[in-house]
Subunit: 336 residues, 4 copies
Amino acid sequence: MVKNGGKLRIGIIGTGLQGRRRAEALRQFDDAQLIAVSSNLPAQARRLAEDMKCELMDDWDKLVIRQDIDVIIVCTPPDCHLPMCNAALENGKHVLCEKPLARNPEEAEQITKLAQKKGLKLKCGFNHRHHPAIKQAREWFDQGLIGEPLFIRTEYGIGGRPGYEKDWRANVEIGGGGQLMDQGMHVIDLSRWFLGDFTEVTGFLQTGYWDIAPLEDNAFCLLRTKTGQVASIHVSWTQWKNLFRFELYGKDGYIMVEGLGGSYGVEKAILGKRAFFEPFKEEVIEFRGRDNSWEEEWREVRSAVREKRQPMGNGQGGVEAVRIAYLVYEAARKRK
Amino acid sequence: MVKNGGKLRIGIIGTGLQGRRRAEALRQFDDAQLIAVSSNLPAQARRLAEDMKCELMDDWDKLVIRQDIDVIIVCTPPDCHLPMCNAALENGKHVLCEKPLARNPEEAEQITKLAQKKGLKLKCGFNHRHHPAIKQAREWFDQGLIGEPLFIRTEYGIGGRPGYEKDWRANVEIGGGGQLMDQGMHVIDLSRWFLGDFTEVTGFLQTGYWDIAPLEDNAFCLLRTKTGQVASIHVSWTQWKNLFRFELYGKDGYIMVEGLGGSYGVEKAILGKRAFFEPFKEEVIEFRGRDNSWEEEWREVRSAVREKRQPMGNGQGGVEAVRIAYLVYEAARKRK
Amino acid sequence: MVKNGGKLRIGIIGTGLQGRRRAEALRQFDDAQLIAVSSNLPAQARRLAEDMKCELMDDWDKLVIRQDIDVIIVCTPPDCHLPMCNAALENGKHVLCEKPLARNPEEAEQITKLAQKKGLKLKCGFNHRHHPAIKQAREWFDQGLIGEPLFIRTEYGIGGRPGYEKDWRANVEIGGGGQLMDQGMHVIDLSRWFLGDFTEVTGFLQTGYWDIAPLEDNAFCLLRTKTGQVASIHVSWTQWKNLFRFELYGKDGYIMVEGLGGSYGVEKAILGKRAFFEPFKEEVIEFRGRDNSWEEEWREVRSAVREKRQPMGNGQGGVEAVRIAYLVYEAARKRK
Amino acid sequence: MVKNGGKLRIGIIGTGLQGRRRAEALRQFDDAQLIAVSSNLPAQARRLAEDMKCELMDDWDKLVIRQDIDVIIVCTPPDCHLPMCNAALENGKHVLCEKPLARNPEEAEQITKLAQKKGLKLKCGFNHRHHPAIKQAREWFDQGLIGEPLFIRTEYGIGGRPGYEKDWRANVEIGGGGQLMDQGMHVIDLSRWFLGDFTEVTGFLQTGYWDIAPLEDNAFCLLRTKTGQVASIHVSWTQWKNLFRFELYGKDGYIMVEGLGGSYGVEKAILGKRAFFEPFKEEVIEFRGRDNSWEEEWREVRSAVREKRQPMGNGQGGVEAVRIAYLVYEAARKRK
């Protein structure tokens, strides 16, 4: 598959913020070549094509059949993921697809099964796994520094902006859900990455501020693994001061990640150990630089393709995150 | 009832940390006179009596029948609350009883009903309502600065100490529950104070580190009012670095309280407003002094007695907090 | 002067980090047109010209005589400032010159006097005046919120990087001084902006870590105005964790600025009032976005040109900052 | 000298805040016996004597001649230090004397020389050396974790209270100086403890807010050792939010201490290492408990007596701190 002097050749569908970020990330890689971009917003697409000095294609379905492309990056709203990913896979392209993988578990599974069947790599855009503080957290965790895990406590939110109720995010047909299907995907995925699969789910949904019913602007979820670890998750579109906080407690200590850079404040990884008779001591690492998670995400796609293995945060992870969100939705519906 | 030159005369049962704190708080009041203390730990009781220059009584049941006492403060473990409070009430004393009001909702209701029947004041020891940052939060809230409330997010925890599994707190016969019946009482009470009665409850319990099954060392609770406000509560005995955090979000802003002084760090009250197009701005008040909640708690008891009204944080609040904990226990049991 | 349909036409000499930042800032202005860039580093210059879609000129002395340019931005090391600024001014261009205005007070005065004689605008690149937290500080100060000023305490520093001793900054012939002539310029300028002219100066220099004697890697300065206000300044190339802190105390309160974004951490402006009997209260504003001081700097150049007035942070300010640094150098020399 | 079953027997002169703190500290020591207290404020003295269950003596000169006392603790204003310490030493008592050791270098030397001549222990009340975060800083420093020291930057201040200009601290005859002779003593002593003797001194004094001229409410000092290390010190009575900050930079890293507990906020010790290519990493220890420096101070007195050695922070240190303050005063006078 990988020809062109060993370069991976890429096409991007969707040229909004996420498409641009992923396009710019490719610049860091000598062996990545952005061939073309496509979007149904022509002006936006043209700007990106110009800035990236690549082709502009009007129709995404023509992009995905090009022979000179190895990987398709899908950065459109969720309702397009199924047709676009499947078309790309059918045409033998590896796929990196923005989260959520699809609008619902069924769609997500279709994509994932097709990738398996075709023997192609499918990565879901869980870029948070590649944030430096999260990577640091994972490293500490894998070294056993906090011992056996007990629970995760995580909050992720933004305040939105006037008119949020008219955003595509407020349209269930497009997004498949509310904030839980949006930023919720990341924290569900991270929780599962650290604790394993969840077998039990409960939670409350709230449509508190934005006029987006039946979608939620706040979701409070409790997830539990078969062995009893708990993840307590809150995601919010009424978090008036942007917040990302991820806390993981184990029998021997704890790890916290705060901030994601930019509007979320400086990204920090913090490690503390259980010590009953000593003053509280922490190791604090600040990642003050810009967010390089998009490059790291691509690095993983590239490695997976080259090493002929599934990437970390792959289609199965994408399915699971959506599935858990839907279990919360179901639990909430039953409660009413 | 109040004679003795207008002074309120007080007896304290239980001379541990909480008994001592409440005894020392009385020193600040010219019109409060600590008459006697009693405990089944004679050495501890003697030290307190000496320090406070008051009488030491061997038997609490003789203390509660003294004619020269107006108020009984009960600071014993929860299994003693019902007999002690009821004896005090039967003998015409007002009562301030350490939280939880009792081991279970039934006991708590017995106490509260007796107080009502007797026309006596009953306050449950929810001293957190009197912490300066919480008072500040309440003031901002009452001024409407954050608008209609949406949700509360609160975490309260300590790390325990070796041998915690042998503490009376680990004995269900004494405490009636685990950490939810311990520090959980405060955050349930505060949540109810701000949001009103909860009509729906879900949650997970965990016995993760301490060998105290069937009691929980971690409780994750979601509570909801009839009008849809949510309280997300986590209390923990495996919070290796002591933490108190109480966050209240409304349609127009948010209030946070962090710290309680001492081992919980500086107590802060923080106010932020929803402002989509401006940099994040907060008003931050630090209460660096010592914890004066115990004096303020007594001030409320005194005022309630003098003004012939029920105190804030009264028996009914005590009943409700225990009732909600038990709803969580029940929900968790059903899940198994 | 301003023709071309009201657009200001700009040439940039020096295409390193500062040249690039100022070029990118111009993009935000519809009425600014970057005509050409020039540098003695051809590859770097070519990249910038390509990215900005402007001309590349090999020789700066041909750039400054072009008739289709209104403003020259000088972003070269300090030893080039005198010849470049003067050539630009002689050819009727307004000038924005990176700090320090020149290597020593005499050179700085030559530039400033020529600008005055020619009636042209000269701004020294004190972009820190345009940082949002500094602007906020100035606004609070001008509103009288902290009353009459007493003193400034400010620290600014970085840790350098291996090989710093070979950087042009370590060459006295190029830079005219060490860290005091580098980041020191900003905090001297800010101190003077808030407190007025300094009439008395003392200080210690240190060459503690970097092999750059006789240049200093640390400068500790005390400056005093005629009316007794003090500025205590420390600038450091051995500040192993980047730091910017600017504290201004007045009779009625204080203002602090912490961070500058990026590697200096989130930029914050903090206001506190003198209040003897109340808990410590502060207003805290976080500017989490990217650094927009470069656009704001240009906005001031543009306004000064349009309004036919000298800009804020003009040549006279540039002279004063260098003069004060040299007074510290002199005081330090005498001490030896 | 030490008889009484091995107990050290103590008399305290001065029963204000510092006298009380030192009396209460003695309670922690089984082998310390507070025999008597004395003060020219009889009511205050009586309260302390009652609380400590020790004798009350009207006249300090009778206290210092008692045969049943081994150590005199002097906690009076500075003008009394010389007569009291000398009388105690003449009568064979060891002395712990509140800082400053005396009003001026000459008085301080008289006391120190007499102690030497008599072979008695003399400790100056530099309790900050015994604060847990400072002890931690010293431990890290002694382990070589920050390498060769470069400089210290330290700020210490309070906001005072209305009427401060009438406090004895505002009387040069009593205190010998202003804020530099008050809290300044601690930071001068700490700086000298870490960097060694200072051979060069400059600084500015300010009487900015309080009506206490010729005394200073702010002192800005720069001190330098023979080998070039610098201490930059600012002490203030117009620090509207109480502050203690002590930063020590070395060639390989830095140590910071922030807070002292109580009104200064949580006491923290922070260690960072020079690391050019890594994200900023720090080890942070929080000492959230109460201030135990007074017990630790006594522990050092006790050990010095028992081990027949001079204590840490002894008379010579007391002389040096006052001498440096006076060098700053002199430098400031010359400037005028």
